[in-house]
Amino acid sequence: MSALWQVLVAIFWWVIHTLLEPIWNARWVALPPLTGVMMMAMIVGAVLVAPREIVEGEVQRLMYIHVPVATISYLAFFVTAVASAIFLIGRDMRWDAIARGAATVGIMLTAFALLTGAIWGKPTWGVYWSWDARLTATLVLFLIYSGYLLARAVGGPNDEQAARYAAVVGIIGYIDIPLIHFSVDWWRTLHPQRIIFAPKPALPGEMLLVLLLGFLGILFLTLWLITLRGTTEYLVQRADRVRARLDQLERA
């Protein structure tokens, strides 16, 4: 590796450390209250502040949670993909814990997005599932990362080979996303039917505000859950190592 490359990498890590390390260290202190506040703001906004939508009625308020959840699930899986890549480079199992934790959170978010989509869909358009391009792509993503978790679960918390294999799935799954979106999108445009998420006339200011609150709330919630779940996976790894060591000592 040339000297220039090493210098660039060193600068990159310095930036990461000085900027993110204080945030990282403060995560247990900062994230829960931030999440709480933002989620409360979102709920209050969605239920009380946002105006009632004329056509769709109260159920439309689900949009304030459905859209952020669906969007931020992509962030969670992005964390999985990046953590998987870092794991493959350095073989540090802690990154595998983060990847696995983020994938679990992503799966939760995607499932919730699909569920709220169905609840919103039935009273509004008469169907639980409409093969809308974006929701269908979300479903495929759900299946891909369920596969990731299944593949990772083979062999146990410290199985490096399973971790490597799953990391590969985690990375190629994410790179597949644009292809999934294009193909499903083009596929749906062949079938003229009611378009669910048509570009609506610009949302009034209060709705946009609440939507923004929703994004922030779900963002912090996701960050917090990923931190929790990633730490859990890491502790499971450690506990498994301790148990294995105890077994070994007992046998000796």
């Binding site: 493959l88 596969g147 299944l150 294999y165 590969v168 294009f182 083009w186």
Partner: protein, 218 residues
């Protein structure tokens, strides 16, 4: 590269010796078409809209099954290790395996196209269709070859392979079915399906070659 060809040649020899391997893939493919024929009543007049779907689901399932079989056998007898211990990079082994899996599956697909032509009285062996089948096959075979290493560990369940591969193959499935439909004369839609197939094939082959060393380590 000569090592990749050596691996490919060896795989062809193996396939010829143990014909039961791709004969069962062929049998599976044939049975699938029959199952679809009964399930979707394909004896009726114009089944052309359904044909691409029938073909590609059959191809994908046979393909995943065949690549995982091929890998399982190598890992059981230790011969995969024999290749890993040779002075070749695992990516070279991947290329060799990819070419041999590709050829095996293309043969099965060709046979299936002939069969379907006869069964449904539809000319299927046009240049355009064969091209689509070729590019699509490269796409799914390269991904399946990469993922087939899942079976190398004792505790892994081989049934997991379709669960992993098929969601990842959704773009390929959609694009292949539509492009095949276009080749059969369905009304043209404006989406560049063949381009998507080519991109998928490139992405999955390059990704496979780069990542195969990672999944073949112990």
């Amino acid at each position: 590269m000569s090592s990749a060809l050596a691996v490919f040649r060896k795989d062809l020899q193996l396939a010829w010796r143990d014909r039961s391997g791709w004969l069962s893939a062929l049998a599976f493919a044939t049975i699938s078409v029959l199952v679809y024929s009964f399930a979707f009543d394909l004896a009726t007049a114009d089944i052309r809209p359904l044909l691409p779907g029938v073909l590609w689901t059959t191809f994908l399932f046979s393909g995943i099954f065949a690549t995982s079989q091929s890998f399982q056998r190598e890992s059981e007898t230790g011969t995969f290790d024999a290749m890993l211990v040779a002075p070749v990079s695992p990516s070279t082994i991947y290329v060799g395996k990819l070419i041999s899996n590709l050829i095996s599956l293309l043969i099965v697909e060709l046979a299936l196209l002939v069969l379907t032509t006869i069964l449904f009285d539809t000319p299927l062996l046009t240049g355009e269709l064969v091209l689509v089948v070729f590019v699509g096959t490269v796409g799914y075979v390269s991904l399946a070859t990469l993922l087939s290493t899942l079976g190398s560990r004792g505790s892994a369940r081989a049934v997991l392979l379709p669960v992993l591969a098929l969601p990842l193959l959704v773009p390929l499935l959609i694009a292949s079915v539509r492009a095949t439909g276009a080749a059969l004369g369905a009304p043209i839609d404006s989406a560049p399906w063949l381009l998507l197939l080519v991109i998928f094939a490139l992405w999955s082959t390059i990704g496979g070659a780069l990542l195969f060393p990672v999944v073949s380590e112990r």
